[in-house]
């Protein structure tokens, strides 16, 4: 246990403890605790799950069970610009699969992976409720609608340029 805790920075550890305290260390609030922790860390590493289990006085297996059950929780860090392609039905019948394939090819990534430079990650999601704009993809909070596979290159370039300009 000690060895694992050393891997986490002290501030991170304290912040997670503070989150658990905010929810009164109540096991019934586990999902809210995980949401808050993921908001702060970007993902839920094994160490964080162990710490949460300790604070809430529940087995780590239970925390892991919940984390792995819900699609919203992730155990791998997302990219700086997380890309999500909607595979809801409306997007599907308007060609979302081709958009997803184009992103895979452009970034050389599989779904659920992050590029080695940490810039992009690729996930699928089910319906953002923008079916009128189908097919839709999101980069962070920004929605790109009425996409064609040819648009994918430009979207990726937009963020690469942004990164180059900031550097």
């Amino acid at each position: 246990m000690d060895k694992i805790i050393i891997k986490m920075k002290k501030e991170v550890r304290e912040k997670i403890i503070e989150i658990c305290n905010r929810f009164n260390n109540n096991p019934g609030e586990l999902i809210n605790v995980l949401h808050a922790t993921q908001d702060f860390l970007g993902y839920l590493p094994a160490e964080a799950q162990e710490l949460i289990a300790e604070c809430l006085h529940i087995p780590t297996a239970k925390v892991y069970g919940v984390v792995s059950f819900y699609a919203f929780f992730t155990m791998t860090p997302k990219g700086k610009y997380p890309i999500s392609v909607c595979l809801g039905t409306a997007c599907y019948v308007r060609g979302a699969e081709k958009i997803l394939d184009a992103f895979k090819k452009e970034l050389n990534l599989e779904v659920g992976q992050t590029t080695p430079d940490g810039l992009f990650s690729l996930t699928c999601l089910r319906c953002v409720g923008a079916c009128g704009l189908a097919p839709v993809a999101m980069v962070g909070d920004k929605v790109y609608g009425r996409l064609a596979p040819a648009d994918v290159k430009n979207i990726v370039k937009e963020y690469k340029d942004l990164e180059a300009a900031n550097a």
């Binding site: 019934g28 999902i31 595979l87 039905t89 019948v93 923008a130 079916c131």
Partner: protein
Amino acid sequence: MRLKVESILAEKNLANDVQVIGTGCFGFCEKGPIVKILPDNTFYVQVKPENVEEIINEHIIKGRKVERLLYVDPKTQQHKEDSKHMGFYKKQMRIALRNCGFINPENIDEYIARDGYKALASVLERNDPEGTIEDIKKSGLRGRGGAGFPTGMKWSLCRQNSADQKYMICNADEGDPGAFMDRSILEGDPHTVIEAMAIGGFCIGATKGLIYIRAEYPLAIHRLQVAIAQAREIGLLGPDILGSGFDFDIELRYGAGAFVCGEETALIHSMEGLRGEPTFKPPFPAVQGYLKKPSNVNNVETFANIPVIINKGWEWFSSIGTEKSKGTKVFALAGQINNVGLIEVPMGITLREIIFEIGGGIKGGKKFKAVQTGGPSGGCLTEKFLDTPIDYENLVAAGSMMGSGGMIVMDETSCMVSVAKFYLDFTVEESCGKCSPCRIGNKRMNEILYKITKGNGTMEDLDELRNLAHVIKDTALCGLGQTSPNPVLSTIDNFWDEYVAHVVDKKCPAGQCKALKQYVIDPDKCKGCTACARNCPVNAISGTVKNPHEIDQKACIKCGTCYEKCKFNAISII
């Protein structure tokens, strides 16, 4: 756009005369962004920021409408300035969506001005919870989440159970892919849900309300938080509401992306911080729900109907719709259709009216093939069902279901085997894994569908699909498992020939299944330009300059590059 409108109005000293309202969805997503100007109800479509100045100069200052930006009726080519006359709105009837697009959802005063919280006040004043439940029963309102359980009955079951604490729960975990009804109601009119929950709480004897909402809907969460805070501030939530002695308050609980959490027992487990796995009913939530206390779970759209039923009376509500399905239903119309958007129609309307009148027909003049209702629990309906009046019973009899309201229209280019595969992909991913018929059965069915779309299916596979589907239907634990084979069964029943074409002829009639496509070169049209052979990634094309080329079908990976590169239309897909 909004900033632009405000800045131009300020420039022209009109900021005090013209009020700019950021409102909830008008429903007509296909033509967005939309700007509506009151009091004359002028409806401008597909407005761009650069059009704003023109609209203000012409319409607001000079009183002339900008014809160019009005909606054009595709049939008559006439401009329709008032939304009431548009084909999209003509057949609609808005009860649950009554305020969406009319009020600023972040201002409680605007809701109150449209009879908001009047129903709550009258229910508290009447002080006869059983009488109110009786009215809801008589109105004929049924659960809008999909299964259609009578709402009044649900309330009275929960009322009968005494406990020190009961819970009124709102299911806002809209997980059906391709549906966005609840999101629009929560974003466009959050107070209606709050008011209805308080009414329901009073009727069943609950003092606590919980809204279980998807974390994927940040705007809806924000608007609910604002609305709850405003209601508390003026005493419409909290202790002793309107001096009646009734206490009620609402908290939000966040979902984390699991489709099965739409099932009420799974939803309750998820709110308790557990994995969202369903449990066997009974005990029903009305007996043992959240934290083992009696609880009542209703869907967002169901709640949105309640205040109207109380204000206008159950007689009025039960006069709308069919014999067994009363009122209206909100549908999210999407897919290969001209007018994508959110619609609310009276029960008993036909699919033909929805698709061809409200929806404006199939995109690109293609032929209608099927409409999918009920999401992963529903089925695909064909042309022969187009004139069936829509209600809970008719849709089930046709092999689909009402569902939460997703309605996906497909044209002739959609392969029905692939559609069934798409829904099963979803079910396999979302199955909670608790019972084996759903966990393993759906996986096996999915494998067979993959085999068929790859061209390796046999007639025995089709029998096996049917067999598995019936076993899952009969033996799965929860409602989601029991309905998960519907997409397969309904496509087998309605599109048997298409399945046979995949299995026997190894052809995909819709041309969607990649593995079953064959690219061939027409020797008469081929000029021998070598473009296809040079671009083929696997060197499957042979031939010499100025002589017809040929594709080696065994080597071909069906990528379609040759088809795109050929300038002489010599390559066709069969």
